[in-house]
């Protein structure tokens, strides 16, 4: 239903929309990135970030700094922003905000299960989990031997429970099963999020459909490229693609049979929104594909702020912050490894 959000949205969502637009104004600008790219050491980066919203999170970190420390502390800023918004949100915004974190929850589940399979200590694994994806019984994942136990002992009481119906088996967990589980869960999550946004309707449904469809298409391309030369069969590959998006269903049929990057390019160039992405790459090359996708995603996320009275701004803000943290990670790695000439290979400017 269009047109009436302006009358009622601000009753429950006005404060938080204002908050998230304020947070958006705090994202790093091109001038900030130019200063960061000229840093000689991680301490210089810390000094430049002290003048930004990350300042309070990094100021007490002792030298010598490590790149993972910078990423962890910047992630804490994102988590604090998110928790503040979540505790102020009412339905359906609170459910919408929770949906945003399910991807991290899936990553954490897979991290714990994989680490346990490799006989790693659970505490060590918990420290590596993303804070946005934590839930109460996450440590109990370590006792499960197969997916049925995983579901029965732990995940049945989590928001991921509905996504497990397609991957419950009694087979013991191994690297291949875990990978298929990760991608099956993520596929189910995206489809569920998409349906939820469609139910919300209005501008939220319009903008989120576009953003989630792009996410589904990007996943399909990445799954295709990453599965080239592996034991994953064509049928298994096809089963991991989401059932929505611009590429669904004909693009997926063509991607499922691709054997190299050039065939993937030939498929994607038939779709005008992705033609420009693949036009930036030379033949046979896939190194810059990630950056091209990130740039397109950032463009779409920034456009979400051009309209008011919808929930997509919250999703857009979270994703833009995550992109910013990725940028900071890359800049830190280039500075730490004394490879500043490579810094613009992966930095995506937001403004």
């Amino acid at each position: 239903m269009y047109g009436f959000e302006a009358m009622t949205f601000n009753i429950h969502g006005g404060y938080l929309e204002a908050i998230v637009r304020g947070h958006r104004a705090g994202l790093l600008t091109t001038a900030d990135y130019n200063n960061l790219c000229q840093c000689e050491s991680l301490d210089d980066i810390k000094m430049h970030l002290s003048a930004t919203e990350y300042g309070p999170y990094l100021q007490n970190e002792p030298s010598p700094l490590h790149t993972t420390t910078i990423v962890e502390k910047c992630t804490l800023k994102l988590v604090d922003d998110y928790k503040h918004m979540l505790c102020q949100a009412t339905e359906p915004l609170s459910t919408f905000l929770e949906y945003i974190t399910y991807g991290h929850m899936i990553d954490n589940v897979v991290l714990i299960v994989t680490g346990t399979l490799h006989e790693r200590d659970v505490q060590e694994l918990l420290e590596k989990c993303h804070p946005l994806g934590m839930f109460d019984s996450i440590a109990t994942l370590a006792v499960a031997q197969n997916m049925r136990e995983l579901y029965r002992l732990v995940l049945v009481d989590t928001p991921l429970a509905p996504y497990f119906s397609e991957c419950i088996t009694s087979e013991d967990l191994d690297d291949m099963n875990i990978e298929i589980m990760r991608n099956t869960l993520y596929k189910a999550y995206l489809e569920d999020f998409y349906k939820f946004c469609q139910k919300l309707g209005g501008t939220t449904a319009e903008i989120m459909s576009d953003l989630l469809a792009f996410e589904a298409d990007r996943r399909a391309v990445n799954i295709t490229i990453n599965s080239i030369g592996t034991e994953l069969t064509r049928d298994d590959r096809r089963k991991l693609y989401s059932n929505f998006g611009l590429l669904y269903p004909y693009g997926h049929e063509e991607l499922a049979v691709c054997e190299d990057i050039d065939q993937v390019r030939a498929v994607m160039e038939k779709y005008p929104p992705y033609q420009s992405i693949f036009a930036k790459l030379s033949y046979g090359e896939s190194q810059m594909l990630d950056k091209a996708f990130y740039e397109e995603e950032v463009k779409r996320l920034c456009l979400a702020f051009e309209q008011q009275f919808h929930y997509a701004v919250f999703f857009a803000y979270m994703r833009l912050r995550e992109q910013e943290i990725r940028n900071l990670m890359w800049i830190s790695e280039c500075v730490a490894q004394n490879q500043k000439s490579r810094v613009h290979d992966s930095v995506v400017f937001i403004f």
Partner: protein
């Protein structure tokens, strides 16, 4: 003009006095042999040192590239999918071994030779234990195609700790580190070679002084 100086032969008693003519013949022979052997050793030393320095430079750039590719893979996959806590602590055989070839010569200055054997499966460890050959990842024969597919499987198995669907950047990082390891072994062999040559030259100089 040939130098005439008394060089004691091993086994010749000090109080014996060989004829002057015999000494001169011995001297001329030793003077003819020593420059050729010395030059050869000097050339070997210089060649080995030059190769060592080239490999050292190559190693530095290969390692730099490998670390950047690893950082790029981490940027792409995320820190949750690529971190040290996913490495496998279960007992498993090494995929790559380094063998120090045994020399028959027991002397201290014997040249050591390092042989890298990459991507050997656990079944092959027992069979090929006595073999000195380094398996190349890019064989040409039909029989070696089996070896090549096995190498690809071993590479994939080694990376499977981070998942099955991994980006090409991580595979590229693996290959760069693999090249760095090969370069390190070549450097060790070159170092062994020039140290051996240096020691031989040093011996020659010491012998000359005596």
């Amino acid at each position: 003009m040939e130098e005439r100086h008394l060089i004691p032969e091993s086994g010749v008693a000090a109080d014996q006095e060989p004829s002057q003519e015999a000494v001169e013949v011995v001297n001329r022979r030793e003077v003819r042999l020593r420059p050729g052997a010395e030059e050869k050793l000097v050339l070997q030393f210089m060649d080995s040192l030059n190769s060592y320095l080239s490999f050292s430079h190559s190693l530095s750039s290969t390692l730099g590239q490998a670390w950047m590719e690893l950082a790029s893979a981490r940027h792409s996959m995320g820190t949750a999918r690529l971190n040290t806590s996913l490495l496998d602590l279960k007992f498993h055989p090494a995929s790559t071994t380094l063998k120090i070839a045994e020399c028959d010569d027991d002397s201290v200055d014997a040249k050591a030779r390092f042989v890298l054997r990459k991507w050997i499966s656990s079944e092959e460890v027992g069979e090929d234990e006595d073999s000195n050959s380094t398996k190349s990842p890019e064989p040409a024969d039909d029989d070696d195609e089996v070896c090549y597919s096995q190498v690809r499987r071993e590479r994939a198995k080694s990376l499977s700790v981070f998942g099955i669907l991994i980006p090409p950047k991580l595979r590229a990082a693996q290959q760069s580190f693999e090249r760095a390891l090969e370069t390190l072994v070549e450097m060790a062999n070159m170092q062994s070679s020039f140290l051996y040559s240096f020691h031989q030259l040093h011996q020659e100089v010491e012998d000359t002084k005596e």
